[in-house]
């Protein structure tokens, strides 16, 4: 009898996994960092790590479909004479015309308006498609000031001063040459076909003291009518919220690192900023200490996918949430029905993130007329409206189960956490215990 030593199974490194190795090879071959769209893809503590407790002996539930559960929210009541009145606590995040096609902006406007909520412009100005379809439109005031003009400022329903975004706190915008068409170039006052790098800092203010004066100027220009939002990337939420409030914001928007971008370096997306879940409680704490919780509204974004995420964000103290990536998926982004085309681009449905290349088979992140023509704004808008309604119904279902007659009555006490990390970030007890890590000294 012969004996063969049993071979060991080839073992790949957890540190040098397939993706890491492929990125080293790609970098060695091209000499340039990887650029992509979307937000952080790594596993992060998130809303999935929280659960609602529901009603029990001490809490009465409300009857589904019968007993009322409100979802309306007013944004900007602190100083603005014309605050935004939304029917649902879910808004559409800023995404630029340029990174998105005109049809996609049109569809976002249609869907949001049908659901009773707002959309937000982006770097590159206000497109006529979005203004005509969005009943409530938030006009972003960005470092680049592309397309910024007082006429559109006065047409807006609110103004959002963008300090940063979750995918890249501290980074500027990027729109590569293949998407700088004649129309995009004209709106941004740039030569056609160049790689556009937007500024990461505002050109005419630095720091909260300046921002206070900038906000005052915008209020003076718009006769103190428009709500003014300040958007920051998830980074130092306690201090950022306090400083935004000090600067005079009506609304603070915090975008966690799962929040999407049109085009940014992979290394930036995955390594700068903090998870959405970690942003909410410090932000709420800052508002509570200032006596302004629910008076200065807090909008949370970055990885919101369903009504449970909405309910959890609100329970932790947010007034509303904002969606970007999920809204694009509702329009038709990354649909497996186009798998052959995603494969041809070297990707697969569900993973396609080369939004900066302008070759999106779904016609959303492109300026190519043929591709853009594939997106029917009416149909896509209806899909978005459906999705927003489902998210709202889901959030109401959970709120009723917790005995709340308005989604804003959800509270941290309705939640528990599945992991120690989530318990610490959300400041709610680990499930089955009364332990909140960080409270009580350990």
């Amino acid at each position: 009898m012969t004996y063969t030593n049993p071979p060991t199974v080839p073992r790949k490194s957890a540190t040098f996994d397939d993706y890491t190795l492929s990125e080293i090879r790609r970098a060695a071959s091209t000499g340039i960092y990887d650029i992509r769209g979307a937000g952080a893809k790594r596993r992060l503590p998130h809303f999935d790590d929280l659960l609602f407790l529901g009603a029990s002996m001490s809490r009465y539930p409300l009857e589904g479909y019968r007993e009322r559960c409100g979802t309306d929210v007013v944004l900007g009541s602190r100083f603005a004479s014309k605050p935004l009145e939304l029917k649902i606590p879910i808004t559409i995040a800023g995404m630029s015309f340029g990174s998105l096609s005109a049809n996609a902006k049109d569809a976002l406007g249609r869907g949001a308006s049908a659901a009773g909520t707002s959309t937000t412009t982006g770097d590159g100005g206000m497109s006529r498609e979005e203004r005509s379809q969005s009943k409530m439109l938030v006009y972003q005031y960005l470092p680049s000031r592309y397309g910024m003009n007082p006429e559109d400022l006065l047409k807006a329903d609110a103004i959002e001063i963008v300090v940063g975004q979750g995918a890249k706190p501290g980074g500027g915008g990027m729109l590569l040459g293949q998407k700088i068409t004649d129309r995009v170039a004209e709106m941004r006052t740039l030569p056609k076909g160049i790689d556009q790098r937007s500024a990461c800092r505002h050109p005419d203010w630095t720091g909260p003291d300046d921002l206070e004066i900038k906000i005052m100027e915008l209020r003076e220009i718009t006769d103190w009518q428009k709500p003014i939002f300040v958007k920051v990337g998830g980074s130092r939420p306690y201090y950022d919220v306090a400083l935004a409030v000090k600067s005079g914001a009506d609304v603070v928007v915090i975008d966690g690192m799962q929040g999407g971008t049109a085009a940014t370096q992979e290394v930036f997306i995955e390594n700068v900023g903090i998870p959405t879940l970690a942003c909410i409680r410090p932000a709420v704490q800052a508002l509570q200490e200032l006596g302004l919780h629910r008076k200065v509204q807090l909008i949370i974004s970055g990885g919101i996918r369903n009504g449970a995420d909405v309910a959890k964000a609100l329970a932790l103290g947010a007034d509303a949430v904002s969606i970007g990536t999920a809204a694009l998926v509702a329009l038709g982004d990354n649909d497996p029905a186009r798998e052959d085309e995603y494969r041809a681009l070297g990707s697969t449905a569900g993973a396609y993130d080369d939004w900066h290349e302008g070759r999106d088979p779904a016609g959303i992140t492109t300026q190519d007329p043929e591709l853009m023509g594939r997106l029917d704004p009416e149909l896509a808008g209806r899909r978005l409206a459906n999705y927003l309604k489902v998210m709202t119904l889901e959030a109401q279902t959970i709120a009723r189960a917790c005995g709340k007659n308005h989604v804003h009555n959800l509270e941290p006490e309705d939640l528990c956490a599945l992991t120690v990390e989530a318990a610490a970030m959300a400041r709610v007890p680990l499930a089955g215990t009364s332990w909140i890590p960080g409270n009580g000294g350990f």
Binding site: R145, N149, P203, W205, D210, I213, E217, I221
Partner: protein
């Protein structure tokens, strides 16, 4: 002539009165007294009125101006005439940083000196400075003309796009992708017109040098990585 004394009147009252003048109003010349460095004076104007401010102002005077003529009979704080679309803003003294930032159109005249980042991200505005400008002026300047009758500081025109820069004195250094360019007859003609509009008729256009983009950084190339560093 309407006269608004900011020692007693609210700034909000002044700006809203200027925004909502009745069509055809003959109140086209306004005077503002005692600004005492107030911010956001005469911002968002949208009609062909003249507003003369007797004294120095703070941040963002004349911001987002359309059509109006704003005269600051003193000095101006940061961001004077920021994002101006049309009309004219004239500062008789000096201007602080970011003068004319992101302006799309119109004319900004600074009779004294302008500080750093004059014309940052300018998008079509014309800026004429009788004295000097500070460092990083015309940073990421996209379109329009910046005329400096004195000297320019460090890193002039860094990351410039298609704006044209004219400097009569010395330039301490040029920023990334900014180079000296040939002064052709059409540029001399343009420069003469800008100096004339600014009221600086005695200055010879041929005494200026022209600067603009080398256009080498318009599309990213790893071979240019050192230029970004």
């Amino acid at each position: 002539m309407p006269v608004v004394d900011l020692a007693t009147a609210e700034l909000r009252t002044l700006n809203q009165a200027l925004h909502h003048q009745a069509p055809g109003s003959n109140e086209t010349a306004w005077e503002v007294l005692n600004p005492h460095g107030a911010h956001a004076v005469a911002v968002g104007l949208n009609a062909p009125v003249t507003v003369t401010i007797k004294g120095s102002v703070g941040y963002y005077c004349g911001g987002m101006n359309r059509e109006a003529q704003v005269v600051v009979d003193g000095s101006a704080g940061p961001g004077v005439a920021e994002n101006m679309m049309s009309g004219q803003v004239r500062v008789k003294g000096d201007a602080s940083q970011y003068a004319g930032a992101t302006g799309h159109g119109g004319l900004l005249v600074v009779e004294g000196n302008a500080s750093s980042r004059c014309g940052i991200s300018m998008k079509g505005i014309d800026i004429v400075v009788r004295g000097n400008v500070g460092h990083m002026s015309a940073f990421m300047a996209q379109a329009g003309n910046l005329v400096v009758c004195g000297d320019a500081g460090d890193a002039l025109g860094d990351s410039i796009y298609e704006a044209r820069l004219f400097v009569r004195g010395s330039v301490k250094s040029l920023g990334a992708d900014c180079i000296e360019k040939e002064m052709r007859p059409e540029h001399l003609k343009l420069l003469g017109e800008l100096l004339g509009k600014a009221g600086f008729d005695g200055i010879d256009p041929t005494s200026f040098k022209r600067f603009g983009s080398a256009r080498k950084l318009y599309n990213f190339s790893v071979d240019n990585a050192d230029s970004y560093g």
